[in-house]
Symmetry: C2
Subunit: 334 residues, 2 copies
């Protein structure tokens, strides 16, 4: 008894009128007899009729669905961004289709294809860290608009929204250097990410500007897994001259790195210090948080990206891909 939903057709039949009459009655079209309108409405009510928006959208080649592809829903940064996106688009009558790439190229590519075939009106992407090949985006842009946020590709025909991480990295370093530390390691992300490059640039620029030596042993990359973090922190701690401060890719990494240090008997914010990015809310509850971090405003970033995408969807003729750089805010603790 797969009770299928009521259609206009059935109602038309029951009332002995045409489908177009039912359609007009339902949308309170001016040129409809009030008598007929009443009858249609009454029947619709009793049959619990509700429109099949998919039919309408299908006809209009619109879905009012926005696709989102991001690495992990469980990372606070992304769930905040998603929340901003959802808030923005739902206010304009759109819905959000989320897919996780889990930092995997194939999953990301499949997700994009799936969204395209399904006919979303636009796509928002924060790239997987393992995405070196960017082909899967290129066939996606037409005819569906695509906007990158946070993990973006620069110099492409797409709009991008991201935080100025080079500047942020510089500021963080500046803060640490002015605190008097000289041996500062960088636990950076994977090289496939623009954000990794930007952090490195800011890091190097700060060392340069404050005339500190660049020690290549202090610069290391991780693939964002816990295991790799552990490995690289151990490596740093076992250097002949271990760092005083570790600048980590973001707060999650800092937390795991801290664990490793604690296991080695080091006291955080005493024997070793951390600087970081992201300003995740739970750091406020820590007794030994990173001494400095960066607020990247993921919620706002999501809203911005969504707003650009909606604009691209609703005014395709005047739309020009744009690049929005969100300034970061330094958060210092002691």
């Amino acid at each position: 008894m797969k009770s299928t939903s009521t259609t206009m057709k059935e109602m038309a039949k029951q009332l002995g009128v045409s489908v177009s009459t039912v359609s007009r009655a339902l949308q309170n079209h001016p040129r409809i007899g009030s008598r007929t309108r009443e009858r249609v409405h009454a029947l619709a009510e009793s049959l619990h009729y509700f429109v099949n928006n998919r039919a309408i959208n299908f006809k209009n080649k619109r879905s009012y669905n926005i696709g989102i592809v991001l690495p992990y829903l469980t990372e606070q940064f992304f769930s905040l961004a998603l929340s901003g996106i959802e808030e923005s688009v739902s206010a304009k009558g759109y819905r959000v289709l989320v897919m996780q790439s889990k930092d995997d190229y194939q999953r990301e590519s499949d997700a994009i294809t799936s969204l395209m075939k399904h006919g979303v009106d636009g796509i928002l992407v924060s790239m997987a860290s393992e995405t070196y090949n960017k082909k899967h985006f290129h066939h996606a842009n037409f005819p569906i608009p695509l906007v990158f946020f946070d993990r973006v590709i620069k110099h492409t025909p797409y709009s991008i929204v991201y935080a100025n991480m080079k500047d942020a990295a510089f500021q963080v370093m500046e803060y640490v250097i002015l605190k008097g530390y000289k041996k500062i390691a960088l636990l950076n992300g994977p090289n496939s990410l623009q954000a990794t490059e930007d952090r490195l640039k800011g890091y190097l620029e700060a060392l340069d500007q404050y005339q500190l030596p660049t020690n290549l042993e202090y610069i290391t990359n991780i693939n964002l897994t816990k295991e790799d973090t552990r490995l690289k922190v151990q490596y740093l701690l076992e250097l002949p001259s271990p760092p005083e401060v570790i600048l980590t890719f973001h707060d999650y990494i800092a937390l795991d790195a801290m664990q490793v240090c604690k296991e080695k008997g080091l006291k955080i914010n005493q024997d070793i210090f951390f600087a970081s990015f992201s300003n995740l809310s739970f750091c406020d509850y820590l007794d030994t948080p990173p001494i400095v971090t960066v607020e990247q405003f993921p919620f706002r970033m999501g809203q911005q990206a969504a707003s650009i995408l909606l604009n691209a969807i609703e005014s395709p003729d005047t739309y020009q891909p744009q690049e929005i750089v969100i300034p970061c805010k330094l958060i210092t603790r002691g």
Copy 2:
């Protein structure tokens, strides 16, 4: 130049064949000339043709979209559950449409309506705390299957998946009582939630079983906002005989409650203790975490709920609403 995507119709015209031939060629139908098939595939390739799945789904009255309505994407519990849902359904070719109710009745009701009209294949809901009226769910069940998770309504025709919070509350209390504490307050959630009632039952049962007096002053409800938490914690601390332990609705609340205590000069896990629910990952990084909490397995809960829903969608004839109670696991610290 709103470049609309290529259709089979166009390709058929270009090749001088019928649309059905193109359709068959594309899906490698057995009864098609290999010559024709090649030509069609070649053209499809060069035109970057991809199927419009919406047309197919529309025809088949399926969307392969699952709607999710939950309070907040930013709460770790829900993002974990969503992650489990996304993982389960995407493995079976479904996509996930998320909407946040923000614990608001109207938003929740609108979300459900929007999803229904849009024609999702099924809906997963974790109820808004302000949802007292349950009407909006009832018209939703036909013809779309609906499954509640975590914040469920018992005794309804819907499937429900939830953690056994009464049992969990009892176990937490038992642990606290056996530690020797007698003055235990309950900072419970809003009464609209089943989980609130369950926690209260477990709390009372434990007091009863261990023959401790029930002090009504120790039992208080909050609406899950930071402000209300602050208010109620202050109330508890100002009682003539303040509690030694506060059992909070979940870890987020515990964190905020701890802040209030710290501001009053109390030392956590010394002057006052906390017990809680949820076992959020960041608590592992705290120096003074709740002494006991409950792992509710939100990821698995999401998976379970998704699997029941998919089953309801794919085998509607044999589907029977079911009630899955996920056992919790006590996490003790110190």
